[in-house]
């Protein structure tokens, strides 16, 4: 879908006068069933081109999609939804030579496609691998009509894209689309600056963690690890998934 450069304007979320929120997300990996609805919903809502995924659900376990590790009797795997972490200390923002990647007052890390020169330094800087470069003109071979919300950002060749936390929906007072479409209700969205918000309470009570905290990026996306035990503080890679130890509620 070819779009003139002048059509896109950077989204600036206006904070409320009395309180500046810090938007964040909590994903409960105990609830996530790896159905990919969030990934597909994101793709449709944002009219993403073929091969472009702002939101993926990784299988942590075997070496393929929905492939478990372990044995037949005791398979081990969980699903990990992965999109932009909207880091407070975003490495992608630091390396951007044009200022195309910017951070809004309420914590969103966004890209101004009109400024991006396609140097891909942000892709190399993002430790979560969630940015994607439109090397070719974005194609939509499977539909001959535009999908997605009218407010969805247009896509163009030669720039880098990523999840926006559905900034256009936030402007309308709605949650990101992936939150609304999750059939397992594994995703929670809210204000991290508000200690009474659902996300803040989940982080506190369920010991939610961020990905790669050792890198100091301070992500705004938190994960409640599988099982009801606190995992290794440096990530989700020290999980005890012994079936015999699983606590069933």
């Amino acid at each position: 879908m070819a779009v003139a450069e002048t059509e896109q304007k950077p989204i600036v979320i206006s904070p409320k006068p009395d309180h500046i929120p810090h938007w964040g997300m909590v994903i409960d990996l105990n609830r996530c069933i790896g159905c990919e609805t969030c990934a597909v919903g994101c793709k449709i809502k944002n009219n993403l081109a073929d091969g472009v995924w702002w939101n993926r659900v990784l299988t942590i376990g075997g070496d393929g999609l929905d492939v478990a590790d372990g044995s037949v009797e005791q398979p081990r795997a969980y699903a990990l939804p992965l999109s932009c972490q909207h880091c407070e200390n975003a490495p992608c923002l630091k390396v951007c030579p044009t200022g195309a990647t910017y951070r809004t007052a309420d914590g969103l890390v966004l890209i101004d496609y009109n400024k991006c020169i396609g140097c891909r330094a942000c892709i190399q800087a993002c430790p979560y691998g969630v940015r994607i470069f439109n090397e070719e003109q974005p194609k939509h071979e499977y539909t001959d009509f535009d999908l997605g919300a009218a407010e969805a950002l247009p896509h163009e060749q030669g720039v880098v894209e990523k999840c926006t936390f559905c900034a256009d929906r936030l402007e309308q007072g709605l949650d990101p689309f992936c939150v609304d479409v999750c059939p397992a209700r594994a995703r929670f969205f809210g204000d991290l600056n508000d200690p009474d918000s659902e996300v803040s309470q989940l982080i506190e009570e369920r010991h939610a963690e961020t990905l790669h905290p050792e890198l100091g990026t301070k992500p705004s996306v938190y994960y409640i690890p599988p099982e009801k035990v606190r995992t290794h503080p440096t990530g989700l890679d020290r999980l005890q998934l012994n079936a015999a130890d699983v606590v069933h509620e």
Partner: protein, 316 residues
């Protein structure tokens, strides 16, 4: 306790592989970036070395000194490659906007500044301009200002690609402080190589300058070789698994033949040849051969370093 052990996938050949956890080589920066790094390094290096050694007789073309011409041409070629490799080349001047925190931005400013003042300085040899094309110690004030600006920017040009890699947090194989140092050293060794080849070709590699140049070249080559060894050891000791996967790919994986060829021919051979030249064995031909190999080695190492960049996974 269960920690996932992602496999290394050379290429995500099946779309579903994008939805599982594994190490993959970075695919964004390859040959063109290696050429960009190399061209800018050798260009800024040769320009700087002529000034450092105050070489007045290096051969001329239309009254302009060869090292200056080559320096500007190589930096310009590097810049052109950089621009053409952008997704939006027409917006290249946007890259000048964030020098406070982006090394690409600092480098782009240094490139343009070097080219502008370098061209002004060099053109004085061709046209009758009110400043001198001599080296810093023999130049007038205007030329000295031009040379000072070019020297400062040449340092930035030699270093900044290294810092660009160093700040690529997704590629732990590059996240070593030794990477910018290596880029600087490779720029110097390739600059020495080009300087020696140029002077030999123009018949200006006289006995008076041969020994100091050869000695400095040997020191630069040895320091570079040691830094490469130190860098590889540093990456081996890195706590981040993707750094070690990258190292494995470099030393024993698909990249290994290129790496070992580069190490033997481009890093070790120049040391041996320059040492033999200094010992008095067929001096100039050996220096030239060592210089050519150092130039190739400078490119080769940057290329294999890019190819060995393995992306870390989301949770390991």
């Amino acid at each position: 306790m269960w920690a996932p052990e992602p496999a290394f996938v050379e290429r995500e050949s099946h779309p579903s592989q994008r939805f599982s956890l594994h190490f993959t080589p970075q695919r964004e920066w390859h040959l063109w970036h290696a050429l960009w790094f190399w061209a800018m390094g050798i260009g800024s290096g040769v320009f700087l070395l002529r000034q450092f050694f105050a070489l007045e007789q290096t051969g001329t073309l239309l009254g302009m000194d060869w090292p200056d011409i080559l320096g500007i041409v190589f930096v310009a070629i590097g810049g052109l490659i950089l621009i053409l490799d952008l997704g939006k080349p027409q917006r290249v001047f946007n890259a000048l906007l964030q020098p406070k925190h982006s090394w690409i931005s600092r480098g782009a400013i240094a490139d343009f500044t070097f080219l502008f003042f370098g061209a002004l300085y060099t053109l004085a040899g061709w046209f009758s301009l009110p400043w001198s094309p001599a080296t810093f110690v023999h130049a007038d004030l205007v030329s000295q200002i031009f040379i000072a600006i070019c020297t400062l920017t040449a340092f930035v040009i030699m270093l900044y690609p290294g810092f660009v890699l160093y700040e690529s947090l997704a590629i732990p194989f590059w996240n070593s402080v030794l990477v910018p140092a290596l880029f600087f050293e490779l720029a110097i060794t390739s600059g020495f190589g080009l300087l020696l080849v140029t002077m030999a070709a123009t018949g200006t590699l006289t006995a008076a300058v041969l020994t100091p140049l050869a000695t400095a070249t040997l020191i630069a080559n040895v320091v570079t070789l040691l830094t490469v060894v130190l860098y590889l050891f540093d990456r081996y000791k890195s706590p981040r698994p993707a750094a070690r996967v990258g190292l494995q790919r470099l030393l024993t994986g698909k990249i290994a033949p290129f790496f070992w060829a580069t190490a033997v021919l481009g890093l070790i051979a120049p040391v041996v040849l320059t040492a033999l030249a200094l010992a008095g064995v067929a001096t100039v031909p050996l220096l030239v051969a060592g210089g050519v190999l150092a130039i190739l080695g400078s490119f080769g190492f940057r290329y294999v370093q890019l190819l060995s960049g393995v992306r870390q996974t989301a949770v390991l």
